[in-house]
């Protein structure tokens, strides 16, 4: 989750492009975070980051 917060927090093009290249949409995740209950946007990104980390390991 902290890493997800960092990725959203920087919001620079590099991070956006990485998220978008993994089949998600950076902006849509941000909007889900605001428009829907729960921590959905951040949780979705956090899950992705965990999966990607496992692959690297």
């Amino acid at each position: 989750m902290n890493l997800a917060r960092h990725v959203f927090g920087t919001g620079d093009q590099g991070h956006k492009d990485w998220v978008n290249s993994k089949g998600l949409n950076f902006i849509e995740l941000l909007l889900i975070q605001t428009m829907e209950p729960g921590n959905k946007g951040y949780k979705t990104l956090a899950d992705l980051l965990e999966r990607e980390a496992e692959q690297i390991d």
Partner: protein, 770 residues
Amino acid sequence: MAGMRRQPMSKKYHVINTPVHNVDGIAKVTGRAEYTFDVVLPHMLYGKILRSPYPHARILNIDTSKAESLSGVRGVVTGKDTLGVKQGIWRRYKELCDEEILAREKVRYIGEPVAAVAAVDEDTAEEALDYIEVEYESLPAVFVPLDAIKEGAPLLHEQAERNINVTRHIEWGDVDEGFKQSDFIREDWFRCSSQAHVCMETHCAVASYTPDGKLTVYTSSQSHYYIKVLLADVLGLRENDIRVISRYTGGGFGSKFELDSAQFCSSVLSMKFCKPVKIVLTREEEFMATKRRTPMFYYLRTGVKKDGQFVAKESRVFTEGGAYTAMGATALYLTGFFQAFPYDWPNYRFDGYRVYTNTPPTSAMRGFGAPQATFCAETQIDIIAKELGIDRIDIRRKNGMYAGYEVPGQAWIQSCGLDECLDKVDEWIKGKGDLPANNGIGIAAYGFMSGGIFNWFDTPYAFSSAVVQVNIDGKVDLFIGSQDMGQGSNTTLTMICAEELGVNVQDIRLHMGDTDKCPVDLGAWGSRETLMQGNAVKMAAAEVKKQILEFAAAKMSPNIVYDLDIKDGWIHLIARPERGLAFNDVVKEAIRGRDGQPLVARGHYTPHRKGMISPAYSFGVQAIEVDVDPETGKITLKDCVTAHDCGQVINPLGVQGQLEGAIAMAAGYGFTEDLPMDEGKILNPNLVDYKLLRTTEMPETTVVEVETYEPEGPFGAKEAGEGLTNPTAGALGNAVFDAVGVSINELPITPEKVLEAIREKDKPETNKED
């Protein structure tokens, strides 16, 4: 040298916490104060600005030939006469520097400057505007954030996908788990409106560029340092080839520390024609084409235990950014931070979005996002208290912040008088007894920062600096970089210097408002001057005092130099105050002994490791009594009390003045002021249709000073400026709730809204809308 004089021992301070009239008051009331409007320079020209009539359009061509041939017109400049630098106050982040001021290719709001004329007089300049021919290609526009973020909405800035300008996320604890543990959950939506600053002095500048490459700009400003640096960025000059002079400023409230069209256009004109150029914005331009308070669309979900213990809060907000970033990014962050103030929330989450829209840019305004946050939070707390059957003072006391509290990952609270403030207000309310029908009292608690920690301006300088010089006759020169815009900081800082140095206020000559002569200070915003500039002044005064005492010690032979002090111009042994020397005599001999050099010292202050937001926070509680006419919905303010913890009060007269001004501004925000728009055009850009609170509508106001000691502040002081603006809209709304049982979630709280809510409440259950 004269020897002995009795001194009173008992008073803690000689100057601090005594009522002192403004040191610049006589100059102001006698008309001697020279404002920018008063500046007249030899061979000066007068400038006027042509502004876009479209909310969103491409500029295809600008033909200035007819205007330039008009008799009396010296010339015209457009964006093509500039370097095309996009500037902004968030200089650390280039993507947030998005405003050219004189548009070159595209306009993004009605009122955006597209050309500027310089002529022999104002009337000629005004006439010339009609002769400038601008060919526009109108583009689709978008005015509301929730429309602007939709797929396919018109894009204002290429780099901002879905028009999202800035996002902010603040989180601690586990909000979702917190909601599971809550006995009661409430969710509400709110709409907070915009507001105009309405400074008495409109934006204005006189720029004078000379052939040696130096630019002098007289201007109405909250930070001459910021204006100097921003002008250097956009004009391609060295910072110190620019001098900004701003000795008197007739109001700021957050509207005057960014580069504005008067400063920029007058500078560009002056550089082109090598003549001084004066531009003064009209009141209509002030409304239509300067920045304003940020409208916000708020969602709050709050979970509490049945005994009123706060458990979790989730807050989401979309802010209407307008066409450019300005200080709106800071307002977004601060609204999220102060949404949690002044309470202990174990679990909290905030997601905020600032969205570009084709409306005039929104930016800083007194309170900086906190009035909006406080309105929403305090309105909801009263509803929750009522639904749970808990006293509204008790629920706040149960959950209030306290000295030693840490806002997780954000801030440390070193001093907090919130409990005492609640006590004072509770006592006031109880003293009122039973109220007449349709009368009610509402309360709101708040906190605010004493200056900001973040260096978004990317300055290498200390945040505040000061120089103190003591002269041979004992007169003291105090040089500061901060700006008094009517809040009384000149007086506060003079008092701090006098107290530290042990002299009287009238012994001090203040120098400010000139970047060539004064040290750097970041300016009057975020309620920073008492704490930050005050600390710099105190340090400088302490250093020069040490020089004087070292000399006095040599003459008086105390045990150690710290056995000496200075009060009321008397240097004395602390244990034997009747034994001492006159300040002026010691200074004279000290200067002779130093080869005739005056006694000089510097001071500075930059907060280090004080959290994410501010080194210190004020706290308070406000209560407002209203009468509501159930036939018309009209609200009358009857009485008001504010218990405010600003640490050690420096000038009680100043605090009273700040409070009265804050109530007028904040009550206006609560129920009379608004900036309605149609397709991006402000519909009430004048003082007849824009409803400011009048003196006849002001309630009786009482300020109760709750003294604490703030270790970070000079003599324990902290802010008494913006914080006072935060609670009023919430207290007003809660007063209406108390009076007639309706809670209004949209600002301003107009009679129409109150009446509609009363009618809806009084409808039989079966007839109510779902």
